[in-house]
C-alpha cells in the first residue's frame, strides 16, 4: 500500500540535486498521519489508495488521476504538498536557497523594509462630491488646506 502511495508522491515531488524527493522524507507516511485528523480526509485517502491500486500498472498515475478525478487529485496534491513543505528537511533547503529563515513567523517576526517612498499626488484632491452641500464645503476646505490636521470634534460638525 505504502509503496504505491510513495510512487505517486514521487511523481508529484520528484526531487533534484537540491531538493529531496517525496519518498526520501517519507511524505506518504506523513500523509497517512495527517489524514487521521479528520474523518472526511480518511475517506478520501482510502479512495486515493483504491485508485492507485487499481492503476498499479499505469506509468503516469498522477496524470491519470488528475484527468479522471480532479477533486480527488486536488485533495491528494494538497495533502502531499502539506506533508512535504512542513518537513524540517525541506524547510532547511528553503532556508539555504533563499533569505527565508527556517523558523515559524512568531515570536521573532520578520524585519520589513520601511516606508521610504512619498506619494507624488499629495495635493491633488481626487474624491468626487456626492452632490450634497456638505461635500462641496468639505471639498473646498480640503483644497484650500490639504495638509490641515482635522480633529474628531471638527469632523463631528459634518453631521447633517
Amino acid at each position: 500500500m505504502s509503496a504505491i502511495l510513495e510512487r505517486f508522491t514521487n511523481e508529484l515531488l520528484p526531487g533534484n540535486g537540491h531538493w529531496p524527493s517525496a519518498s526520501e522524507i517519507q511524505v506518504s507516511s506523513t500523509m497517512q498521519k495527517f489524514a487521521e485528523r479528520d474523518s472526511q480526509q480518511q475517506v478520501m485517502l482510502a479512495q486515493l489508495l483504491d485508485f492507485l491500486e487499481m492503476h498499479n500498472e499505469t506509468a503516469a498515475v498522477a496524470a491519470a488521476l488528475e484527468m479522471k478525478d480532479p477533486d480527488l487529485f486536488s485533495f491528494a496534491k494538497v495533502l502531499a504538498f502539506e506533508a512535504y513543505y512542513t518537513s524540517p528537511k525541506v524547510r532547511d533547503v528553503i532556508a539555504q536557497r533563499s533569505r527565508y529563515a527556517n523558523r515559524p513567523p512568531q515570536p521573532a517576526g520578520f524585519q520589513v523594509v520601511p516606508h521610504a517612498v512619498t506619494p507624488w499626488n499629495q495635493d491633488a484632491i481626487l474624491w468626487r462630491s456626492d452632490g450634497t452641500e456638505r461635500s462641496e464645503i468639505v471639498l473646498k476646505m480640503q483644497q484650500k488646506d490639504p495638509n490641515k490636521t482635522w480633529t474628531v470634534e471638527e469632523i463631528r460638525q459634518w453631521q447633517p
Binding site: 513543505y85 517576526g109 520578520f110 516606508h115 507624488w120 481626487l126 480640503q142 490639504p146
Partner: protein, 533 residues
C-alpha cells in the same frame, strides 16, 4: 425537554465586528445589552503562528472557509451555486479573528450610486452621517496610516504610522509615482507602535491566522473587553435558531440552543441581528411565521437578495531577485484609487481599487499563492524557487452591483449540529463586473511590469475570497425595495434591527468593515436618541 426562559432588554445576535461595536456603544450609553454568540472566545495562545506546523494549520483549522474548517461552531454554507466561496469565522470576534484588517472607507459617492451614476441603489444616509462614527471606530480599533490621503475626505490623525511598504511595495510605489496614478499607504487596524497591551506589528506575515502580538485588531481584544467592563453581557456557545414574533408581527425575542443541546427562549424588547451577510439572512429566513410567511420582516422579498461580494481579480508579479515577500503583514501595504470613481468613457459603471499585497509562506506558495501556477512533477522545484520570496500581488477590489438573483437562501436538506437549515449562496458575475475585471487586470499587470516584474500571472477572480458579505437585508427609504430603514430598523418589524454588512445598499470598491462598524455605532446612538431603549 424543558425550554429555559429569561428576559433581557436589548438582545444582539453575533459577537463579530458589528455586534461588538453596537454592544459597546449601547453599553457606554448605559443601556442593558446582551449578546448571544454561537462560537467561543479565541484565547491569545490559540494564535498558531509560533508552531512549527503553522502552515498546516493555515489550510485546515484556520481555513477561512467554514466548509473546510468545520469547527463545532461552524454552520454549513452550500456553495456549489456560487463561483465565490464563503470566508468567515464563527466565535467571539467573528470574522475579525481571521481578517487582514485593511480599513479603507467608502467615499461619499459610494452612498449615492443610483443618483450619480444610474446603477444599483442609493443609501438613505450619506458619508457625512457616518464620518464621526468612522473616527470613533478608528480610535477603538487602533488605526495605522498616513494623514492626508487626497483620494478621500479628511480624517483625524491616525493612531500610528503606516505599515512598512517592504521591498516590492516600495518598487510599486515608485512605479506609481512614474505613472502618476493615485496611491497612498493603506489605513489598517494594525498597530505599528505599542499601545496598551497590544504590541507593535513585527511583520510576521500571516495575519489571517490570528495575531499573536495583538498588533492586528480583532474585536475580541478591542471592543469586547471595554463593552464587558461597561456591564454588557456576552453569552458564548449560544446558537440562535430563530427570531420569535407575536400575533401583531412584533419581535418578542429569540429561540436558541446552548452547546449541551439545552433549548432556551430569551425574551427581549429589541432584537438586533449581527450574524453577517450570510448568518443574518439565514436566521431571519428561518424565522417565518403566520404573520411573516417569507421570513420575519420580509414582505418586500428583499431578504437574502442583492448579495454583493466584490469580485477580486488578482495579478501576481514575479521579480528576478528576492523581495522577501514572506515578510510583513501579508494582505496590504498600499492602495491605489486611480480607477475608483465612475468614468463614462469606460465600458463599465463605477470602479475599482487596487490593493498591493505581499507573498506567502512556502506551502501556500507551492499551492499557487494568490494566482500562480506551480506545476507538480519534474519542473516543480525549479518553478517554486523562481517564485518563493520573489512575488507581489495586486488585488483588484471591483465594485459589485446588487442583483436579486445573487442571494442567500436556506436549504433544510442540510443542517448544522442543532438541525438549523444550512445557508446557500447563489452568486454569478454580472456583465459590468466582467468588463471591470478586464480593465482591472490590465491596470494591475501594467503596474507590476512597470515596477520591474519579469512576468505576471492573473486570475479573473479569487474564488476563495467570499469575505465581503453585503446587501442581503439592505437599507432604503422604500419598504418595497429594502429591508431596513436608515436607522437599521426593519420596515415591517420596528423592534428588529439588522446592523451588519447585510444592510449595505451598495458595495463600493473597498473592504467593508470600518463602514459596517460605523453603521452599527450609529444605529446604537439612534436607538437611544429615539428613546427606544
Amino acid at each position: 425537554m424543558t425550554v429555559l426562559h429569561d428576559e433581557v432588554n436589548v438582545l444582539v445576535v453575533g459577537a463579530g465586528a458589528a455586534g461588538a461595536a453596537f454592544t459597546w456603544r449601547l453599553a457606554s450609553l448605559g443601556v442593558e445589552v446582551t449578546c448571544l454568540e454561537q462560537g467561543e472566545w479565541q484565547r491569545p495562545e490559540s494564535s498558531l503562528t509560533a508552531l512549527k506546523n503553522w502552515e498546516s494549520k493555515r489550510i485546515s483549522e484556520r481555513s477561512p472557509n467554514p466548509n473546510i474548517r468545520r469547527n463545532p461552531a461552524d454552520y454549513p454554507i452550500l456553495d456549489d451555486t456560487s463561483i465565490i466561496k464563503p470566508a468567515i469565522y464563527n466565535g467571539v470576534g467573528g470574522s475579525t479573528i481571521l481578517w487582514s484588517a485593511h480599513t479603507p472607507r467608502f467615499r461619499p459617492s459610494d452612498f449615492r450610486v443610483k443618483s450619480l451614476d444610474g446603477v444599483g441603489a442609493d443609501w438613505p444616509i450619506t458619508y457625512w452621517d457616518l464620518a464621526e462614527y468612522y473616527e470613533i471606530n478608528d480610535e477603538i480599533m487602533g488605526t495605522s496610516g498616513l494623514h492626508g490621503d487626497p483620494g478621500n475626505p479628511p480624517r483625524a490623525p491616525r493612531t500610528t504610522p503606516p505599515v512598512p511598504l517592504g521591498i516590492a511595495g516600495s518598487r510599486i510605489a515608485k512605479a506609481l509615482n512614474e505613472l502618476k496614478w493615485h496611491w497612498w499607504p493603506s489605513d489598517g487596524n494594525i498597530l505599528t507602535q505599542d499601545r496598551g497591551s497590544r504590541r507593535a506589528c513585527n511583520g510576521c506575515g500571516p495575519c489571517e491566522m490570528g495575531c499573536a502580538t495583538g498588533a492586528r485588531a480583532s474585536v475580541d481584544i478591542t471592543y469586547w473587553p471595554e463593552a464587558l467592563a461597561l456591564g454588557a453581557e456576552l453569552r458564548t456557545g449560544a446558537t440562535v435558531r430563530r427570531v420569535l414574533s407575536d400575533a401583531a408581527g412584533k419581535a418578542t425575542g429569540v429561540e436558541w440552543v446552548d452547546i449541551t443541546g439545552q433549548e432556551h427562549i430569551t425574551h427581549a424588547n429589541i432584537v438586533v441581528m449581527a450574524g453577517n451577510g450570510i448568518g443574518t439572512p439565514r436566521i431571519l429566513l428561518n424565522s417565518a411565521s403566520k404573520e411573516h410567511p417569507r421570513g420575519i420582516g420580509n414582505s418586500s422579498d428583499q431578504l437574502g437578495r442583492n448579495l454583493m461580494l466584490h469580485p477580486i481579480p488578482v495579478v501576481t508579479g514575479v521579480f528576478d531577485e528576492d523581495v522577501e515577500s514572506w515578510s510583513g503583514n501579508d494582505a496590504f501595504a498600499l492602495l491605489i484609487q486611480e480607477f475608483y470613481e465612475n468614468d463614462d468613457t469606460r465600458d463599465f459603471k463605477r470602479g475599482y481599487e487596487m490593493q498591493v499585497t505581499r507573498g506567502q509562506g512556502p506551502l501556500v506558495t507551492a499551492l499557487g499563492g494568490f494566482s500562480l501556477d506551480v506545476p507538480w512533477g519534474t519542473d516543480h522545484h525549479d518553478v517554486f524557487e523562481q517564485y518563493f520570496g520573489r512575488v507581489a500581488t495586486v488585488a483588484v477590489t471591483c465594485e459589485d452591483l446588487p442583483h436579486p438573483n445573487n442571494k442567500v437562501t436556506i436549504d433544510s436538506t442540510v443542517t448544522d449540529r442543532f438541525g438549523i437549515p444550512a445557508a446557500r449562496m447563489w452568486y454569478e458575475l454580472e456583465e459590468n463586473s466582467k468588463r471591470m475585471i478586464t480593465h482591472g487586470v490590465k491596470s494591475a499587470t501594467d503596474l507590476l511590469l512597470k515596477a520591474g516584474a519579469r512576468e505576471t500571472y492573473a486570475k479573473p477572480f479569487a474564488p476563495a475570497a467570499g469575505f465581503h458579505l453585503m446587501g442581503t437585508a439592505r437599507m432604503g427609504n422604500d419598504p418595497r425595495e429594502s429591508f431596513v430603514d436608515q436607522a437599521c430598523r426593519s420596515h415591517d418589524v420596528p423592534n428588529l434591527l439588522v446592523i451588519d454588512g447585510s444592510v449595505f445598499a451598495s458595495a463600493a470598491a473597498v473592504n467593508p468593515t470600518p463602514t459596517l462598524q460605523a453603521v452599527a455605532l450609529r444605529a446604537a446612538d439612534l436607538l437611544r436618541e429615539d428613546a427606544l431603549v
